[in-house]
């Protein structure tokens, strides 16, 4: 099925028009031809001519008659004779000269006869023009001549008539042909007209059909706009309303009759938009620039009939019609939407505010709990160094354990809060992943063997030892996973494997798998085990305990490190946790790499301790004085400023929130003053230091920032850091202390526990040294036992040289070598004196 492509209507009509004009022209031309022919036919010319021809004969006969009469008449009327001759002569002259007879004269027959007659006339003229007597004399001769020429005149007449008859026939035939042609052309024209009529009829039918289609479409359009829920308002370029649908009536409160013909601006444009509306219309009329038309939905205000303003969503489209440009506006009343949106925004804001308040509360509470708890633990460790009964020592140990557990829980909550508030910051350091894994396995091996479980670890493929990563976080994650595996496995095995994927597109990846043969996880719980406060079997909880935050934190840390964690588990068979972390492999650091710990740590300093909380102040003071520093205390900023005015301090430790004058104010005053301590380093001590606050502290003139709760290491390091740059660790130092052991202990127990332990250790060593030096040289068994016990402690604390020296004492004592024992004991105080400062500042390499 295909249709011929028809030329446009206009072209077709033009073709018809030209054809008609051509037809009419042909008809007109032929009509003229016919008219001319008819006129020729109609004219008397031929008749006249024929009459003239016959008249020639008649006039000749008149002449001959007069001639005959004149012969018989004795007194002839010569005048009449002459006149008749003249008349005939004139007639012949006319035949010879007149253009009418030109065609006739071309007939040989006619012209021969005419010439003969003319010759006759010329021959007769002398006689006619002669005297009357001569004429009378010559009459018989003239008569004879005339009789001779008569037949010629007759033939002349007849030949003319024959010619004209033939010519007339010809003309008639020509006219007949022309008429036939004209009839043909007229027929063709009529046919063309008929076709045109048919064509016009077809056009008309088409137009009627189209019109009904348009009417139908219009009706449908009316129905569509009439039933539309959006207001549809049509206007012309001047803003005059042309159409106003039912929804518009409802929204704006005008009836269609009221609205049509009125100015859009008066009707629905709010007064404060009136100027902009009119400027827009003007701009559009003048430059055709459209800012709203065809640009999609915009939100504006509109006005109802009662003057009420309400928000609308508006879209305007334009259309070109024969009557000029039309604008079709679609308006939707969005009052309820706007209201709902505002309510939603308010609800969201409230929820966000609530969430923030909760986070703030959690953070604050964690800090608030941690600070006194820290004081409690610190004082516990101080208390343990006093003389205690074994029972008291056990109670204190129990309190210490509980306190540390509590501290761990609070740290967990704080970690989660920090992470969720987006404040968790990574602290990448150089670390040995093998060492870390080994330490954790060692740490957990006790618990594993208690559960009758084997615990192993190893590398798959080539090991990767040194990396740069956030050691603490990785340790936390691994500790949690391995700890959990050990916790939930009884009489089974826990296997930890590490593997490096060096070819991953996103860079080297560390994969650690922790596979146990423990109790497994319920299939319906496996999706929730990384949720907060998620604990396993409740009956088991009592056995293993836990806040249910461990895996939640692990997952947060893994995510923060850019890695993934996943789990496979089967109830009763065991679980497998896999973590995948991006790592940055580094070369193993040189063994001689310097430590930041200051060799001057032991050099006593005069410290101004500004702190309003008495427990904290006492704790800090104890820590500082224990390290040999001299401490002056100030309960608030005002006192501190006064003291700093009067004397020089090597370091000022400044709490931030204090009564009377806070730490920042005090710092600014000290720095502004000219006292002896105006240039002394000031270390901010704060419980909630956010990055932006730190910046503010530094701009106040503070030198460094310490975060509460204070640790011994942190505190001492901060104080010693304010001294001259630390010298590189010497070989001697490396001999004195087994740094790996210290690191391991700190990683396992945490810096605070280590500090407490160190305190105990210092006490123990001091006591042992004094007891050994005072001991009865004969009681070598007691000496060996004392030395053995303290050597064990020294081994745990990483005091390698002290341990070796104590082992030497023990061995000498066991051999009952009195002299050797005495020598060995004598060496102890010097070693201890060298070891203690190193131990005190140990572990400060990492930010605690």
């Amino acid at each position: 099925m295909f249709t011929l492509k028809t030329p446009p209507l206009r072209t077709r009509l033009l073709a018809w028009f030209l054809l008609s004009v051509l037809g009419l022209a042909v008809v007109a031309f032929m009509s003229v031809t016919v008219a001319k022919d008819l006129r020729l036919l109609n004219s008397a010319s031929s008749d006249n001519v024929q009459w003239t021809l016959s008249q020639a004969e008649v006039e000749f006969l008149e002449y001959e008659l007069h001639l005959a009469r004149a012969i018989q008449d004795p007194a002839p009327h010569l005048r009449d004779l002459r006149r008749e001759f003249d008349i005939f002569y004139s007639r012949v002259a006319t035949l010879r000269e007149s253009s009418i007879y030109e065609t006739l004269r071309r007939q040989e027959d006619f012209s021969t006869n005419l010439d003969k007659i003319h010759a006759f006339l010329l021959g007769t003229v002398p006689a006619i023009d002669g005297s009357d007597a001569d004429l009378i004399e010559g009459l018989p001769h003239l008569f004879e001549q005339a009789r001779d020429i008569r037949s010629t005149v007759r033939r002349l007449s007849i030949s003319g008539l024959t010619h004209f008859a033939a010519e007339s026939d010809q003309r008639r035939t020509k006219i007949a042909v022309t008429l036939m042609q004209m009839a043909a052309v007229v027929s063709i024209l009529l046919l063309a007209l008929l076709l045109l009529a048919l064509y016009l009829n077809r056009l008309n039918i088409q137009n009627i059909r189209r019109r009904s289609q348009v009417v139908e479409a219009n009706k449908r359009m009316k129905i569509v706009t009439g039933t539309a829920l959006d207001a549809v308002v049509v206007s012309d370029a001047t803003g005059r309303v042309l159409d106003f649908n039912a929804a518009a009536e409802q929204i704006f409160g005008y009836t269609t009759e009221e609205a049509i013909g009125r100015d859009l601006a008066d009707l629905i444009v709010p007064d404060h938009f009136r100027a902009a509306h009119e400027a827009g219309l003007k701009r559009m009329r003048e430059s055709g620039e459209k800012r709203v038309v065809g640009k999609g939905r915009v939100k504006l205000e509109a006005k109802r009939a009662d003057g009420q303003l309400f928000p609308v969503e508006l879209a305007i489209q334009s259309a070109q019609t024969d009557d000029g440009e039309r604008f079709i506006a679609f308006l939707r009343d969005i009052s309820h939407l706007v209201k709902a949106e505002a309510e939603l925004v308010a609800a969201r804001d409230r929820a966000l505010a609530g969430e923030k308040a909760k986070t703030d509360f959690l953070a604050t509470m964690s800090h608030e709990i941690r600070t006194p708890l820290n004081g409690l633990l610190g004082n516990l460790s101080l208390l343990r160094e006093t003389r205690l009964s074994p029972k008291q020592a056990r109670y204190i140990k129990n309190m210490d354990t509980s306190g540390k557990l509590l501290m761990g829980h609070i740290s967990d909550v704080l970690d989660i809060t920090k992470y969720d508030a987006g404040k968790l910051r990574l602290r990448p350091v150089e670390m040995n992943i093998s060492t870390l894994l080994q330490d954790i396995i060692d740490n957990q091996s006790g618990a594993a063997s208690a559960n009758d479980t084997t615990l192993q670890w190893g590398w798959v493929d080539a090991p990767l030892t040194w990396i740069r990563a956030d050691r603490d976080r990785i340790q936390h994650i691994l500790m949690n996973l391995i700890g959990n595996a050990v916790k939930f496995t009884h009489g089974g095995s826990v296997r930890v494997t590490a593997q490096v994927d060096r070819d991953a597109p996103e860079g080297p990846q560390l994969l650690v798998t922790v596979r146990d043969t423990g109790i497994g996880i319920d299939a319906d719980q496996i999706d929730r085990i990384f949720d907060d406060f998620m604990t396993g079997d409740s009956s088991y909880d009592r056995d293993v305990g836990g806040t249910g935050l461990g895996l939640g934190i692990a997952k947060r840390f893994v995510t923060a490190l850019g890695g993934t964690i996943e789990v496979d588990s089967e109830k009763g068979t065991g679980s497998t946790f896999r973590i995948r972390l991006p790592v940055e492999p580094i070369a193993a650091p040189a063994q001689a790499a310097g430590h930041e710990t200051g060799g001057e740590a032991g050099r006593p300093k005069h410290v101004l301790l500004v702190e309003d909380n008495e427990i904290n102040r006492v704790l800090a003071r104890e820590m500082l004085t224990a390290a040999g520093h001299r401490v002056t205390e100030a309960p608030n900023g005002r006192v501190a400023v006064d003291l700093a005015e009067q004397q020089h301090f090597d370091v000022i430790l400044m709490d931030i929130s204090m009564p009377v004058l806070d730490g920042r104010g005090a710092t600014r005053e000290i720095r502004a003053g000219t006292g002896p301590s105006a240039q002394s380093p000031i270390i901010a001590v704060t419980a909630n230091a956010m990055a932006e606050e730190k910046q503010a502290f530094l701009s106040d003139g503070m030198t460094d920032i310490l975060t509460k709760p204070l640790t011994r290491e942190g505190l001492l390091k901060a104080v010693s850091d304010q001294a001259a740059p630390a010298p590189a660790e010497t070989e001697a130092v490396a001999d004195l202390v087994d740094r790996a052991t210290l690191d391991e202990m700190r990683d396992t127990l945490g810096a605070e526990a280590q500090t407490a332990l160190l305190g105990r250790f210092v006490t123990e060593v001091d006591r042992t040294l004094s007891e050994l030096s005072d001991a009865d040289p004969q009681d070598l068994t007691e000496t060996a036992a004392q030395a053995h016990k303290t050597a064990g402690s020294a081994g745990v604390m990483g005091a390698a040289k002290l341990r070796a020296a104590l082992v030497a004492v023990e061995n000498a004592a066991k051999r009952a070598d009195h002299a050797g024992t005495k020598t060995a004991i004598k060496a102890l105080p010097a070693i201890w004196a060298a070891t203690l400062p190193i131990l005190q500042v140990q572990g400060d390499r990492d930010d605690s």
Binding site: S43, N48, D86, Y89, S90, S98, I100
Partner: protein, 168 residues
């Protein structure tokens, strides 16, 4: 307008000469034209008779034109038919013109207009003989007006004219 002026001039001329109404000088030479019928000015009973001199005395006029009966362009001189009508006070609606051989045509009086036909008495300055369609020939300005190049007009162009009768 011109015609009206002529009319007035004729009237003035007639009133100046205290001739009896309808009086015309008598012909002295051969009479070449006799006008009868509804005329008001006569010189012989009910008719007006003209010799060449009398016609030449009337206001003359020239037409240069070709005719279908002659060769080439001819200069005709004579009296305008309208002048004759005015001179003789011809009434009626047509003129019946007759030739020497009694050939007769009827000329509507409406033809007698200014610039219309005239009664020619000279062709190319020569008096016309009977042999040369004389002595009088009603000539229309054929070349000047296509309306005068029709068969009817040609039929009215009577030569060898010698009588005119004004018919009511």
């Amino acid at each position: 307008m011109y015609r009206v002026l002529c009319h007035v001039a004729a009237v003035v001329a007639l009133s100046a000469a205290p001739l009896r109404a309808g009086e015309l000088a008598a012909p002295e030479g051969d009479v070449i034209l006799t006008v009868t019928g509804a005329i008001t000015t006569t010189n012989d009973g009910d008719s007006a008779r003209f010799d060449l001199g009398m016609l030449e005395a009337l206001e003359d006029r020239s037409i240069e034109t070709a005719t279908i009966w002659t060769e080439g362009t001819k200069l005709f001189q004579g009296v305008s038919l309208s002048t004759l009508v005015d001179t003789l006070g011809i009434e009626g609606d047509r003129l019946r013109a007759t030739a020497i051989n009694d050939y007769t045509v009827e000329i509507p009086l409406s033809d007698a207009v200014e610039g219309g036909p005239m009664i020619a008495y000279r062709m190319d300055g020569e008096v016309m003989s009977v042999r040369n369609k004389g002595p009088l020939w009603i000539v229309y300005p054929y070349d000047g007006n296509s309306d005068y190049r029709t068969e009817v007009i040609y039929s009215r162009s009577i030569w060898q004219l010698d009588r005119i009768e004004a018919v009511e």
